[in-house]
Symmetry: C2
Subunit: 185 residues, 2 copies
């Protein structure tokens, strides 16, 4: 494999993936291609539906990624609808929903779906909690309100480099990189 | 047309549609069929995608319906994700998000998508506002926190019969019924 396409319109995600893949002899190319994201509570189902749609239209090896923030006390909201929730009620809305709530446990989940000769999926989870206020300007999305277990800082307060050591997306991308190196899932 | 199928798993919606259609010489049948709902901000797009999916599998005349609650101050949240939001943060969550918010304007929108010889869509809107507390046990979903312009009561405090006079779904169904009677959209 010489070229690998990452189908995403999100610059931040592409930057994270690029850093993960740069030691391999593969050129990573960002591709903006609209594909339908279905409404489902399972990220893997959403990713595979998108993969299937794209693989009928695009013949080079590619992957796409879907991720979500799952908050215990809110019955896993916003889950697979994280981007929409981010664009509407935003981080302020999440903090408002958790006002006075003691259990602030949450996790980020990432599913990377790769298509080479067939479909493959790789998952990563980052356990943590929701902060009491917005902190930091790094990253994107819910990063400034999520404190991973490994840190006392939010994802908004750490560099992409540090985030790439243990974020959900990093773990999913690591699993894909391992597969690309060894050909084993 | 002797039989018309309403593809829905929602008893409440079926009940509303049945009351609207009973004067026509058509038997309305509830059909539970899973179809993909895509993530999109436009209800019509979601409904037409579902219609397309179902029409490839099901050959009798049918319709499906998608509706959502759009709240001004929350950038139209929860919009097309109303069911998911209802199932996770619920009415309590919406009231919490609007705590201390003065502009409580909101509207319900319904899109009915009918397939007979081809696709047809019908829309209905109910303007109103979000109440300060949960009121009433009628209806379903966000009904107990939505006060339509035409009333001082929430949809949760009025009967299906009264709701069927001016609800968003009633208006969309009325438009479909008119089409079924006259063959004109």
């Amino acid at each position: 494999m010489e070229e690998l396409y990452f189908i995403t319109s999100n610059k931040g995600k592409f930057k994270e993936a690029e850093a993960k893949i740069k030691h391999l002899d593969i050129e990573l190319i960002q591709l903006r291609l609209d594909y339908p994201e279905i409404q489902a509570s399972d990220l893997k189902e959403i990713a595979l539906y998108g993969l299937d749609f794209c693989s009928e239209r695009f013949k080079s090896p590619f992957f796409l990624e879907d991720s979500g923030l799952f908050i215990d006390e809110l019955n896993s909201f916003p889950g697979p609808y994280s981007r929409y929730v981010q664009e509407t009620i935003g981080n302020d809305g999440i903090l408002k929903l958790l006002l006075g709530v003691i259990n602030r446990r949450a996790y980020f989940k990432s599913v990377v779906a790769l298509y080479d000769k067939g479909p493959h999926t790789f998952e990563g989870i980052s356990m943590g909690k929701i902060s009491n206020e917005i902190r930091g300007k790094e990253g994107f999305g819910f990063d400034p309100i999520f404190i991973p277990l490994e840190s006392s800082k939010t994802f908004g307060e750490i560099s992409t480099e540090e985030k790439n050591k243990y974020s959900h997306r990093a773990k999913a991308l690591d699993a894909m990189v391992k597969y690309l190196e060894n050909g084993v899932e």
